[in-house]
Each structure stands twice: as structure tokens, then as C-alpha cells.
């Protein structure tokens, strides 16, 4: 069973959670990193060949020059750096984020919640030699698919995880002014107590996020929801027809008051 969230308890007994980055996000981040690496290699080689006066035609056998060997040497240096240093360097300097991971808003952490250290980074990146077998990180991908925390070998040995950046969701719903409370009447405290937590959740969610809905759709969705509340509580529909959004606000507020009592 795939694990989506990990809870970490600090020594101070504070529990916080991270959302584990699944295989798809990791694949996409890896692809972006490879594209960046290829782009840099191509740019650098073009620059070197332009500076050293080497044209593409001198890559024919027998036509090699010192400039050609210089270009090849740079290519191998860059390849070595990208193979062994790119990920380790960025994870060390950028809080566990390579450029590809940064674009996907995921980063590497230690599985116990401690700050990422050089040893963990080194181990997880050295094991790319194993995860990369036979090519394009296929073995690492297969292992991450099977592991419930989507870890490759390097993560298991280095005791690290790749998680999504923490996003904070929104707040309590905002309400209209007191004037509106006289325009629309709610069903009353006794009736609103009948609403279950799930039903109240739906109403609260609607009120929290109604401002993102286009105006032409807002009344339609509000009427639908208000209509179901009316049928659920078995009350008359006249208040809903006046303004379904304000009716839902009244229902929510009355239920909140009923709860507090």
C-alpha cells in the first residue's frame, strides 16, 4: 500500500507531517535535471568550439586538432561532474533541492526529520551507480515503485526521503456583514444540529472557497447545495430562493453557535 504522508515526531514531542513525493514527481524532476544537464553540456561545448575555432567539420577521422581533443576533454569533465557532483552539490547547498526538484517543489529530507547532512547526501548520491543500472535509473525507479515510501536504494541506505514542500491551506470562511443576517433567515439552531460533520464540512468548504468560483457558476452551485440542505432538514425553500449563499452562511453560523452551546 502506497504511503502518502509521513509523520515525524521531534524529541520535543511535536508531530509534523510531510507529503511523500511519489514516483511520478521524482521521474519528472529527474527528467528536468537531465534536460538542464544536457543543455549546459551543449552550450559549454559550443562555446569552447567557437572560442577555439573548431568547426563541426573537423570532427571527421584524421581531421582532429588540439581544439578537438580539448572539446572532448571538457565533455568528459562535464559528464563526470554531472554524473557524480551535480545532485550532491545542489542538495548540499540548496536544502536538498536540485533544480529539477525545485521546479517540482520537492526536496530531500532525512527520514527522522533531522537536518540533511553531508554523509546522507554523499551516500544517497554514490548509490546512484546502483540505482542507475542498467541505464536511465531504471532499477532505482523499479525499487521506488515497489517501496511504499517511494524510496530508491540510495534513499534506503542514506536514510532519506523525498517530500513535497509544505503548503498551508486556507483559513476559516469569511462572512458578509450583519445586514445580510436580516435579509435571510436560517433554519434555526435545533434543525442545524441535525447536520453531520461531513455535511458541515461540505458547507464550510464551499464558504471558504466560493471567491474563486466565477460568478455565473457560484449561484448555481450554491443553489444546488442549499437545495440539498433544505431537503435534508425538511424545511421550506423561500429563504434559499432569496440568496442561497447567504442562506448557507446562516446555516454554518447557526451550527457553529449550536456547537458552542
Amino acid at each position: 500500500m502506497r504511503q502518502e504522508t509521513i509523520y515525524i515526531e521531534t524529541p520535543e514531542k511535536i508531530v509534523f507531517y510531510y507529503k511523500i513525493a511519489q514516483i511520478g514527481a521524482r521521474v519528472a524532476a529527474y527528467v528536468l535535471d537531465v534536460v538542464i544537464q544536457l543543455a549546459v553540456i551543449i552550450l559549454v561545448l559550443l562555446l569552447i568550439s567557437a572560442v577555439s575555432g573548431l568547426g563541426m567539420t573537423s570532427l571527421e577521422p584524421g581531421g582532429e586538432s588540439q581544439a578537438f581533443y580539448l572539446t572532448v576533454a571538457f565533455f568528459y569533465l562535464l559528464y563526470f561532474f554531472f554524473q557524480w557532483g551535480y545532485f550532491a552539490l545542489f542538495e548540499l547547498l540548496r536544502q536538498g533541492q536540485s533544480p529539477g526538484k525545485r521546479m517540482l517543489r520537492i526536496h530531500v529530507i532525512r527520514s527522522d526529520g533531522e537536518p540533511l547532512d553531508a554523509a546522507s547526501i554523499l551516500i544517497r548520491n554514490l548509490l546512484r551507480a546502483v540505482d542507475g543500472f542498467p541505464f536511465l535509473n531504471i532499477l532505482g525507479g523499479l525499487v521506488a515503485m515497489i517501496d511504499k515510501k517511494s524510496r530508491r536504494f540510495g534513499d534506503m541506505v542514506g536514510d532519506t526521503l523525498v517530500v513535497h514542500e509544505v503548503r498551508f491551506d486556507l483559513k476559516e470562511p469569511e462572512f458578509e456583514t450583519r445586514l445580510s443576517e436580516q435579509v435571510v433567515k436560517g433554519p434555526g439552531l435545533e434543525l442545524t444540529r441535525k447536520l453531520s460533520e461531513e455535511e458541515l464540512f461540505v458547507i464550510r468548504r464551499f464558504l471558504q472557497e466560493r471567491y474563486k468560483i466565477p460568478k455565473d457558476r457560484l449561484r448555481e452551485i450554491a443553489s444546488k447545495l442549499a437545495g440539498r440542505v433544505v431537503q435534508r432538514l425538511n424545511i421550506e425553500t423561500s429563504q434559499v430562493e432569496k440568496d442561497p449563499v447567504l442562506f448557507l452562511e446562516r446555516v454554518y453560523k447557526e451550527h457553529t453557535v449550536a456547537d458552542e452551546e
Binding site: 500500500m1 502506497r2 504511503q3 502518502e4 504522508t5 507529503k19 513525493a21 511519489q22 514516483i23 511520478g24 514527481a25 521521474v27 519528472a28 524532476a29 527528467v31 528536468l32 537531465v34 534536460v35 521546479m103 517540482l104 517543489r105 520537492i106 541505464f135 536511465l136 531504471i138 515503485m145 513535497h164 503548503r167 453531520s196 461531513e198 455535511e199 464540512f201 461540505v202 468548504r205 464551499f206 472557497e209 466560493r210 474563486k212 468560483i213 466565477p214 457558476r217 457560484l218 452551485i221 444546488k224 447545495l225 440539498r228 440542505v229 431537503q231 435534508r232 425538511n234
Partner: protein, 298 residues
């Protein structure tokens, strides 16, 4: 726990796309494999040794190619429609059954064909038009001719999904796609680029297995047939990921721009028994108003 859709970030969308793919791997693989059977067959026929052995005349070879092309097109249409319908229902935690899926998509196949043909014409015309202005420039500046075409492709990316999921007509699907993808072309382009890179990497990766096949103690013909078969199956494995991404992009845009998550939640608001829309009267499978969120593991 409540069942709710939510707006996904770029990384979360990729994670959910692969999750959707793995969770529905068998039906997706079978649909894509069966629909691509003509392509696989054609690739095997194209193996040089097979061609020589069959000794087809030019006319027969041309006819075979035309029939295969027609079957390929039909297969592609059918697999696109069926995977889109299946994935959209699965993402919304609905399971109407295979007969219902096919009943839903059959009337939409011809409009889908029209949509794809028109899309190809429009994109081709745009590229041709801008090619007249940028084509004379040296490489890589001449590639600028492709930019407007790619922009339109990104803006119309969700049109096939809209046609299948919402049952809209061709031009309505285009209009709706253009409305949904306002200020989102670059993001969609990033998705297309990564999908292309994955396909490219997998293709090249499977081509790298050729030296392995050459060493097998089999005749050259058999080696090449197995190699082509492997290549085709690997492509078939990767194809449905694109459909998963397209579906999630579509729903993500609807959630962001139309509050679709709220509408979906409202649709699940529990009804008293006997009322229209009561889940007990043939609503969602699994019962209850609130099946778990795809991202929850409670």
C-alpha cells in the same frame, strides 16, 4: 474521511498521474496494446527479412500499409477515447463498468476524429504561415516558426478530453479549451516536454537493448522480430501516462477556474433516502456520500 478533489501543484500532479497509471495499469495496458496491435503487426512486417520472406508485390504491400494505417487510426481514436473515459471516471471514484464506458464513447468517436483532423490542419497551417517569415533564418532561429503552432497546441490540449468527458461538440470543445487554458500554455508545454523526454528516453533505452538481442542464439529474423516486439510493448507501456497527465491537467484547470472540486463535493452531499440523487439509488459504487480522497491513506 471525505472525498474531495483538490488543486494539485506541478509536482503533485506528476505524482498523481503516475499513481493513476499504476492503479489502473492492467486495463490501460490492455486497451493500448489491443488498439496498437496494427502498429505492432506493421512493424513486424516491416522487418526486412520478413518482407523478403513474404515476397509481397508492391500493390499488396501498399494495400497492407493502407489497411494498417486505417486500423491504426481507428485504434488510436478508440484507445484515446476509452482511456480518457476510464481515467476520468476512476479519478472521480466512479466505476460504471466496461459496457457503460463503451456506450459513452461510441457516439463521440467520429467527432473526436474531426477534432484531431481539424487540430492537425490548424496547427499545420499556423506552422506553415509562420514558416514563411522565419524559415529563411539560420538554424536555430528558424525554429521560431514552430512557436505559434506549439502555443496553439498547448491552448487546445484539453479539447479532446472535453469532448469525451463532457460530450461537447468539436467547436465547443475548442472554445472551452481556449477558456480553460488562459495563462496556462507554458505550464502545459512543460508537461508535454517532460512527456516527450520520457518517451524519448524509453525509446532510446529500449533501442540500446539491440546488442543484447544480437547475441541470442536465434536466427536474425527472429531476433529482429523480438526486438521490434519489445520496442512496441515498451512504447505501449509508456503511452497511457500521457492520457493520465491530460486528464489531471483538465480536472486541475476546472478546479482552479470553475470550482469543480466544490461542485463535485456538493454532488456527494448526502440525500435523505428516497430523494432523487440518493446514492442508494444507483449512485456511486461503495456506498456512502464520501468515499476517501485519492490522496488519503486512512
Amino acid at each position: 474521511m471525505k472525498y474531495q478533489l483538490k488543486h494539485l501543484s506541478f509536482g503533485e500532479l506528476w505524482g498523481q498521474a503516475f499513481n493513476l497509471y499504476f492503479d489502473n495499469f492492467i486495463p490501460l495496458f490492455l486497451i493500448t496494446l489491443i488498439s496498437n496491435a496494427p502498429i505492432i503487426f506493421q512493424q513486424i512486417l516491416n522487418t526486412q527479412a520478413i518482407e523478403q520472406r513474404l515476397g509481397l508485390s508492391e500493390t499488396a504491400a501498399a494495400l497492407t500499409a493502407i489497411v494498417t494505417l486505417l486500423l491504426m487510426s481507428a485504434g488510436y481514436l478508440f484507445s484515446t477515447a476509452l482511456t480518457t473515459e476510464l481515467l476520468s471516471k476512476k479519478y472521480l471514484k466512479q466505476s460504471p463498468g466496461i459496457k457503460q464506458y463503451i456506450r459513452n464513447i461510441l457516439p463521440r468517436l467520429i467527432p473526436l476524429l474531426g477534432l484531431f483532423l481539424l487540430l492537425a490542419l490548424v496547427i499545420g497551417a499556423v506552422i506553415f504561415f509562420f514558416g514563411l517569415f522565419f524559415g529563411f533564418l539560420p538554424f536555430p532561429f528558424s525554429l521560431l516558426a514552430l512557436v505559434p503552432g506549439i502555443y496553439f497546441l498547448c491552448r487546445l490540449y484539453t479539447a479532446p478530453v472535453i469532448l469525451i468527458v463532457e460530450g461537447k461538440k468539436v467547436f465547443e470543445s475548442y472554445r472551452r479549451s481556449l477558456r480553460l487554458t488562459i495563462k496556462k500554455a507554458f505550464m502545459i508545454f512543460a508537461f508535454i516536454l517532460i512527456l516527450w523526454a520520457i518517451n524519448f528516453g524509453v525509446d532510446k533505452g529500449s533501442a540500446a537493448l539491440l546488442p543484447f538481442f544480437i547475441q541470442l542464439p536465434l536466427s536474425l529474423t527472429t531476433q529482429m522480430v523480438f526486438f521490434n516486439l519489445l520496442n512496441s510493448i515498451v512504447s505501449v507501456l509508456v503511452m497511457p501516462i500521457g492520457s493520465c497527465v491530460a486528464i489531471l491537467i483538465y480536472f486541475n484547470l476546472r478546479i482552479e477556474k470553475e470550482g469543480f472540486d466544490l461542485e463535485h463535493l456538493v454532488d456527494q452531499f448526502e440525500m435523505p433516502s428516497g430523494m432523487p440523487g440518493d446514492p442508494g439509488q444507483g449512485g456511486q459504487e461503495g456506498g456512502g456520500a464520501f468515499p476517501p480522497h485519492p490522496g488519503d491513506n486512512h
